[in-house]
């Protein structure tokens, strides 16, 4: 019951934030110099066509009314049609979201595997050489731009060795997954580097805790102490960072999707920007914001399950 109240409260708190976001997006779009209708139509347009488009977009209405129109679209999740793609924004979103979600998921899995193996090794090792080596690798990984490593991986594994697809999304699920491997590795690099450092730090801290010594003094096997005492506590303290980064991956997939020509949300957004498709861009930015808020909420809820010390209030 307490949990339920908390969730309701958090959802109610999201409403003002979302309202502010709609205002910002709306204002931002109106700040763009020039007439959107004319920009969209390009250089060759007739006055009648411009007038028609303006009417279609509601640009001939008073500003406040335009905002209400946008608000209505936003609340009903009916964002209207993308002008350049000639399809409902919501349909486009649904269609592309699969790609981005898959990419995010595979990237997150890679990140977890890489960061826990290396972070754990660095934190648990008694040899300074091991932890120093891993630290250095993490440092380099953090400084490499993901689009660059993406291009290099594509060159090596896609073009030269022909092991994996160079880009695109394929048409069957096995193809989809195969096409995700290189993008996911590129995208996982930076976050893994951050997480390796974080996990290493946490382990060195937790290793010294009394409860670890107490666990050993109970005669528990090394493996039990490591799993139930050290690893479990590390997971609790890194889950927030991980989920924040995963949210970032989902929304920040623009670069990777561009490198690997993946037809996901990031590519859609870039197309919208390049084509000056304002309906598309403002709707997408809004949808991204809603998703991020919801994912933040889910993070907090799941964190409270993992960490009993945090009570939902």
């Amino acid at each position: 019951m307490k949990e339920f109240n908390y969730i309701i409260k958090r959802i109610l708190q999201m409403i003002p934030a979302l309202l502010v976001i709609t205002v910002i997006i709306f204002a931002g779009m109106r700040l763009i110099p020039g007439d959107p209708a004319i920009t969209m139509l390009g250089t060759h347009y007739s006055d009648a066509a411009a007038e028609g488009l303006r009417h279609k977009l509601g640009l001939d209405q008073p500003l406040f009314f335009q905002y209400l129109l946008f608000l209505k679209q936003v609340l009903t999740f009916d964002f209207g049609n993308s002008i350049t793609m000639n399809a409902p924004v919501w349909d486009l979103f649904k269609q592309k979201a699969v790609v981005t979600l898959t990419l995010t998921l595979v990237t997150a899995i890679f990140t977890i595997i890489i960061s826990f193996i290396f972070g754990y090794a660095a934190g648990m090792s008694r040899h300074p050489l091991i932890s120093k080596t891993i630290d250095s690798i993490a440092l380099v990984m953090l400084s490499i731009p993901e689009f660059w490593i993406g291009i290099q991986l594509m060159l090596i594994f896609g073009l030269n060795l022909k092991l994996l697809p160079v880009g695109g999304w394929g048409s069957t699920w096995p193809e989809h997954i195969r096409s995700m491997i290189l993008p996911a590795i590129s995208g996982a690099m930076g976050t893994s580097a951050l997480m390796i450092r974080n996990i290493e730090e946490e382990i060195t801290k937790i290793k010294k805790q009394d409860y670890v010594d107490f666990a050993y003094s109970k005669g528990l096997k090394k493996g039990v102490v490591r799993n139930r005492y050290i690893l479990k506590n590390v997971m609790v303290s890194t889950v927030t960072l991980l989920s924040m980064r995963v949210i970032g991956m989902f929304a920040g997939s623009v670069v990777i999707e561009t490198v690997f020509a993946l037809p996901g949300l990031g590519s859609l957004l870039m197309q919208g920007i390049m084509a000056r498709d304002y309906t598309l861009v403002q709707s997408l930015v809004y949808i991204f914001a809603v998703i991020v808020l919801v994912m933040n909420l889910l993070t907090d809820i799941s964190y409270s399950f993992l960490n009993p010390r945090i009570r939902l209030e």
Partner: protein, 269 residues
Amino acid sequence: MKKKKISISFLAGGVVLLIILGMAVVPQAFTSQSPISQDMSALLQAPSSAHWFGTDELGRDIFARVVYGTRIDLAIGVFAMLVSAITGTLLGLVAAYYGKTVDACLMRVLDVMTAFPFIILVIAIVAIMGSGIRNMFIAIWLVGWKDYAKLVRSEVLSEKNIEYVAAAKTLGYSNLRIMLRHILPNVIDGAFVYAISDIMMCMLVGASLSFLGLGVSAPTPEWGAIISGGRTFITRAWWISVFPGIVLAVTGVAISLVGKGTADMMKGR
């Protein structure tokens, strides 16, 4: 406290960073080639003694382009960081010092901003204002200050009630003076350490934006843009995209090492 030895990694990072700074300030000293002059007789040439990093599809020397690009990339990193750091630090300081409504306002703004992921927000801003280096700066600035504000705010909140602040108040000092002369020096360390690594983050964001075609425009040499340009010729001329990426990574590592060394020294104080 004993004097700490300067670590080797700090020294190495410092030396590399000095070289890179040199490249930014006097690129002519590092290469005699021009970064923009085209040579139709030497298109897409592999690295050689004449062209260390090879040439691109217009016969431009990649090494020269990378050297001349240093200034822009470094400037993006440093200046984008500086404006964000100053804005964020001041806002965080003021909000935490005055508390109540001022602080609540800042917190709400931060709440809304966290709902937009960094890169989306930057891209959206650039999309609104149009691409180009100036707008890219503004975009990174508008988004980047929030981390400093958060950091400084929490530091100030823990400092505010400490006796020296109360003492300064009883002495009748103005709020401005207390904030800038008394609190700021005590809370700046955390922001400073973050700022050094932020240079690297800003550089990466700048390069990413240029890569997406939203930042620096075509003939100007910039690392991200060079990598982007090399993508088309990746099968025939790997060198175009490889070298700027390596230089970018080396710069990032050097900055991190210097930052880590500085942080260690500050801890030892």
